[in-house]
């Protein structure tokens, strides 16, 4: 195009240079003969010099060059290259595994080193930056992750059996499934219950100033209690209930387990939920409400057709915050025997088995990111049709 020179995209440029540095300097993979013995770590070039190393270095350099004078065309090329890089990572890891693990080591465990973790993280940041620059839609952004996901799935299924994470998973896959389910159920139940309760509370608060003051006072106070302390506080009364009320005992209420975890989660979820619902309903433009009434809408019609739909994006924003928070807190709830993915984290920490910690932590991170993106885009979509 005939325009003057575009200035470099410093974000992509520096992220990619950091990728290159991480790739060339840091350890990419560690190998241990079994679960007990500490492994030895290798940098990428120590494992395979020659073309496999170039396989990743060349695309990184290409993106650096493209980001130097980034017109639309080059940005698209850079994006394609980044997607390719993300898909190549597991393939490279598979190759490295094949090189490092000999058939004489059936118990060998391959760990993912700092270089690969960093690369994964930095490349995702590059992807986000490029998506924003090119003004691609959110759904397009998800599609861009597809090659990477397919590539990981393929590699895990075919070549990455010695990967420590995979070995940990295979050793307790049934336990993993039930922990994942428990985690999702706890989060889902806490968020759903807090949504219903918060909606009722927020409506009551709009009616009576007294309830509003008292309600926010209590909820703000709840939020300041550390989660472990809250579990502790719930222990005694729930234990008492569990032993004295038969039907509660029958559904499994006791001082530890799912009951205190659920109650604590509910307590923490209530404040962000109530606050968002309340603010959302209050902040609808008074002129819009006045004209709705002036046109002859009944109170009910004003609420259902005007106030609620205009408040919805902010309510969903509240669901987003609450869900992400509950996903994290549920991990802590494992400490009081509530189950969930936190179990792996704390067991792993106890046994100093980092791969087991990862087995719990990675799905939690993915779940949180997914919930964040899902509700974020939902809220944004509703906002587009409506307010602003």
């Amino acid at each position: 195009m005939g325009e003057g020179r575009v200035s470099p995209n410093w974000v992509v440029l520096s992220l990619m240079l950091a990728c290159l540095a991480a790739w060339l300097i840091l350890d990419a993979v560690s190998v241990a003969p079994n679960r007990i013995v500490p492994g030895s770590a290798y940098a990428a070039l120590e494992i395979m010099s020659g073309w496999p190393a170039l396989l990743l270095t060349a695309p990184m350099l290409a993106v650096v060059v493209l980001a130097w004078r980034p017109d639309q065309q080059r940005l698209k090329l850079a994006l394609a290259t980044t997607v390719l890089l993300l898909a190549l990572l597991p393939l490279w890891l598979s190759a490295a595994t094949a090189v490092l693990v000999e058939p004489s080591m059936p118990q060998a465990r391959v760990g993912i080193g700092p270089s690969l973790w960093l690369l994964l993280f930095l490349l995702l940041l590059v992807l986000i930056e490029l998506r924003t620059r090119l003004a691609l839609s959110r759904s397009m952004g998800w599609c861009l992750l597809l090659p990477m996901i397919v590539s990981w799935w393929l590699s895990l299924a075919l070549w990455l059996e010695p990967l420590a994470l995979q070995r940990e998973y295979q050793a307790r896959s049934a336990q993993f499934t039930s922990a994942l389910t428990m985690h999702l159920v706890l989060v889902g139940a806490a968020v759903a219950a807090s949504l219903v309760l918060a909606a009722l509370l927020a409506l009551a608060m709009r009616r009576h100033a007294g309830i509003r003051r008292a309600g926010f006072g209590v909820l703000n106070f709840l939020q300041t209690i550390p989660s472990l302390a809250l579990f502790g506080l719930l222990l005694a009364p729930l234990a008492w209930l569990g032993t004295h009320v038969d039907w509660l005992a029958a559904i499994g209420v006791s001082g530890i387990g799912w009951a205190p975890a659920f109650l604590a989660l509910l307590g923490y979820s209530l404040l962000p939920m109530v606050r968002n619902i309340h603010v959302a309903l209050e902040e609808v433009d008074p002129a819009v409400i006045e004209s709705a009434r002036g046109m002859g809408m009944s109170r009910r019609q004003v609420f259902l057709q005007v106030r609620l739909p205009l408040a919805l994006p902010i309510v969903i924003e509240g669901i987003r915050i609450t869900t992400v928070q509950a996903i994290g807190l549920t991990a802590v709830a494992a400490l009081i025997g509530a189950g969930g993915l936190g179990t792996f984290i704390f067991q792993g920490l106890g046994q100093a088995a980092m791969d087991m910690v990862l087995l719990g932590a990675l799905p939690i991170i993915v779940m949180a990111l997914f919930a964040d993106a899902l509700f974020g885009s939902l809220s944004e979509r509703l906002r587009q049709g409506g307010t602003a």
């Binding site: 004209s291 009434r293 046109m295």
Partner: protein
């Protein structure tokens, strides 16, 4: 016909409206003017019962407003506010069709009515029907606001500073359109404004309010000539009152038929105001103008003497 008998409204200890009596005839446009906070909006909102009055009575066509169901009452009265109050999550067409839908008109009839109104207010259906309010300019949004108020063909229209947020050019265009609309539709309109030129240009009856009371009311020209006190006088423009009155009189009313003399070189339209004619004279330093019709054909002449004689006749 709208009648207020000794109507009062208090907010706590503050008296916002203090014993107002007022009668707006059917088909009349009544402008409420006054400094901000003098109770204009409160008076307006008591008519459709968005605010309930504390004392006195308000009648529509002889019936007290309290005898109607408030929701049904409001559906019979058009309401336009300064910030439009359009629903941001609804399209233009849906916004306009609001009251007919509340009244459960059949779908087809609602659509027809919406299209009719969009045409009436100069909003091409194909271009605007599916737009959202945030995609409209201020003037377009207020046209939609007026269309929405007219949708169920109410006899009464309440307008609270409807053009107050618009730029001067758009405002004048909309004032002009409202005047033409009113000439055709003959609604009973109560129009709140703090822009005196707007009030003078539109009103059949001018009501000046001050601190919750009516200080003076009557025809605009009558108020210009005989303000009851210095407050009304200064509100109406003080020394500018002469020009403001001249702005209300058309050149056509003062011109003389073409005489034997040569045509004056500067021209003025038949429908222009005397103040515009005076401005043209000042600008070109002449004391005689040729008056032309819409086709720019000379039909008369206006001299400075005739122009000044406006008051005498």
């Amino acid at each position: 016909m709208i009648e207020l008998f000794d109507v009062t409204k208090r907010f706590g200890s503050e008296v916002a409206v203090d014993g107002i009596s007022l009668r707006v005839e059917t088909g009349e446009l009544c402008a409420l003017v006054g400094t901000s906070g003098c109770g204009k909006s409160t008076t307006l909102s008591m008519i459709n019962r968005l605010i309930e009055h504390d004392g006195g009575e308000i009648h529509l066509d002889g019936q007290p407003v309290r005898s109607f169901d408030e929701v049904a009452l409001r559906r019979r009265i058009g309401y336009v506010i300064q910030s439009t109050g359009l629903f941001p999550h609804w399209t233009v067409a849906r916004n306009i069709g609001l009251v007919p839908r509340l009244l459960k008109w059949p779908k087809g009839r609602v659509r027809e009515r919406v299209e009719e109104l969009m045409q009436l207010l100069g909003l091409p259906v194909a271009e605007f029907a599916d737009k959202y309010p945030r995609q409209l300019s201020g003037g377009q949004a207020q046209r939609v606001g007026v269309a929405r108020a007219l949708a169920a063909d109410p006899d009464i229209l309440l307008m609270d500073e409807p053009f107050g947020a618009l730029d001067p050019i758009t405002r004048e265009t909309l004032q002009h359109e409202l005047r033409e609309l009113q000439a055709r539709l003959h609604k009973t309109i109560v129009f709140v404004t703090h822009d005196m030129d707007e009030a003078l240009a539109l009103a059949d009856r001018l009501v000046v309010m001050h601190q919750g009371r009516i200080v003076q009311q009557g025809k605009p020209i009558a108020l210009l000539h005989d303000p009851v006190n210095p407050f009304v006088e200064s509100l109406l423009g003080g020394m500018d009152r002469g020009l403001k009155e001249a702005a209300l009189i058309q050149v056509g009313e003062r011109m003389l038929p073409l005489g034997p003399r040569l045509l004056a070189s500067e021209r003025i339209a038949y429908g222009a105001s005397l103040s515009q004619a005076l401005s043209v004279m000042l600008w070109h330093q002449v004391d005689r103008l040729t008056v032309v019709d819409e086709e720019d054909i000379p039909i008369g002449e206006l001299s400075l003497r005739r122009l000044l004689g406006a008051k005498a006749s």
